[in-house]
């Protein structure tokens, strides 16, 4: 039984790590602000869920689990709202998304 729980929480933690790192790679590699926000905010919630789920499996039915679940709920509420507010104020202050890169521009960028 403990072996199954350990294996499950191991899987959860690794999934969380994978999502976290892919989000980080996203905000580092993408060359435009809105795609970076996309990478960060999409992976963030699930990463939090998986890591906290892995920890809850380890701690069992205790006060610590309740606090962990609280933290997940809070992060699930606040993180998307923060991303929303971030994009909204970026858009309102005049940072326009690059909707399409024409071939000429991408060629130019490739050269520079």
């Amino acid at each position: 039984m403990t072996f199954i729980i350990d294996a499950l929480s191991w899987v959860c933690l690794m999934m969380g790590c994978f999502l976290g790192i892919s989000g980080a790679v996203g905000i580092f590699k993408f060359d435009e602000f809105y795609s970076r926000v996309h990478a960060a905010s999409v992976t963030d919630t699930l990463c939090v869920f998986f890591i906290m789920a892995g920890l809850v499996l380890q701690s069992g039915f205790t006060l610590v689990s309740v606090k962990l679940i609280f933290a997940v709920v809070l992060l699930w509420l606040t993180s998307p709202v923060a991303s929303h507010a971030l994009i909204r104020s970026a858009y309102h202050t005049g940072l326009k998304p690059k909707l399409k890169t024409s071939r000429k521009e991408s060629a130019k960028r490739g050269q520079s």
Partner: protein, 327 residues
């Protein structure tokens, strides 16, 4: 400290060094404030690794919340960019700094190794606190018992410093009542944020109360709770408006409550003197010394929380009312 902890410690400290270099080199004040936020998060992580959970708690509430807000309010008034022109050459200060640093590094070579349990700092009063405080004061959190009981006089001084800083801020920049509408257009209403803030504020206040009264058993106490409580009001001010917030918690009430907090602290000391003990000796407050200690700590932590919360809110109001006046 096992090697994995040491590795994490070293990685975090190295990140801190890079952040500091970025702060020193950056010209944009906004970038500096953002990097200071990261700096504070990093240092809180390091505090946790070095077992200082209470300190990390305080740094969490202060560094990420209040400090960023106050810095931004000031930058909004003074302008974002530094001017390019350097007036002082960087060479002479660099030489001074490098020499001072080299002397200090030479000084560290004689220091006891990091985490050495036989270092002098661990020999003098710490064993008394660690071994006897759970029985003498009767609460598990040694930091709280040292803060509120053994070194209660010291902490009272700190609370008075916070109070005095608040008075100083008020004598420099008072809260300005708004007479005319601000020149710039209000940003568009944002229903998502407002709904979210309405949902979050009760949670934050509840959490502040939990931190206030759970400080005996876990990390927390009056200082942290006060800061967290004021952050709730700051969130309210930011998502609604300053007028709404000042209707909710009028500054004249806050001023009185801040003074009452200090009075509660000092008054506890006076009561313990009247009951025949020393100043801030809580053992005489009840028949049983342990109960007395418990009551005393609860009361003075409440005073600390009250003063810190009110002082932080008032300082925030003072800053933000200036910011509206000078866009």
């Amino acid at each position: 400290m096992s090697s994995i902890n040491l590795l994490i410690d070293i990685v975090l400290l190295t990140m801190l060094v890079f952040t500091t270099i970025a702060i020193v080199r950056s010209r944009s004040l906004f970038a500096i404030v953002m990097l200071s936020g990261i700096y504070s998060l990093l240092s809180a992580n390091i505090f946790i690794i070095l077992d200082a959970v209470d300190v990390a708690f305080t740094e969490a509430a202060v560094g990420a919340g209040i400090s960023t807000v106050l810095m931004l309010a000031t930058i909004g008034i003074t302008g974002y960019e530094q001017k390019k022109r350097r007036t002082i050459s960087w060479i002479a200060p660099m030489v001074v700094v490098v020499i001072t640093g080299a002397v200090l590094v030479y000084g560290t070579l004689d220091m006891p190794a990091f985490t050495d349990p036989s270092a002098p700092i661990h020999q003098h009063v710490a064993p008394r606190y660690i071994n006897d405080s759970p029985t003498e004061v009767g609460i598990p959190n040694m930091v709280t018992s040292v803060l509120a009981s053994y070194r209660g006089y010291d902490t009272m001084g700190e609370v008075i410093v916070v109070f005095a800083a608040m008075i100083g801020v008020f004598s420099l920049i008072g809260i300005r009542e708004k007479k005319s509408e601000p020149i710039h257009a209000e940003p568009p209403a944002r229903p998502i944020l407002q709904v979210m803030a309405k949902f979050m504020i009760p949670f934050i206040i509840l959490f502040a109360l939990y931190v206030q009264f759970h400080g005996d058993f876990g990390p927390g106490g009056g200082f942290q709770a006060g800061v967290i409580f004021s952050v709730a009001i700051i969130l309210y001010t930011l998502t609604f408006s300053q007028q709404d917030a000042m209707k909710l918690v009028p500054p004249w009430v806050l001023k009185r409550l801040a003074s009452i907090g200090v009075l509660i602290y000092g008054g506890t000391g006076v009561v313990s003197m009247l009951k025949g003990g020393n100043f801030l000796d809580y053992s005489v407050l009840a028949h049983d010394p342990i109960h007395g200690q418990h009551y005393g700590i609860l009361i003075i932590e409440f005073g600390v929380g009250l003063t810190v919360a009110c002082a932080m809110m008032l300082i925030f109001f003072a800053f933000i009312s200036r910011g509206d006046k000078n866009p």
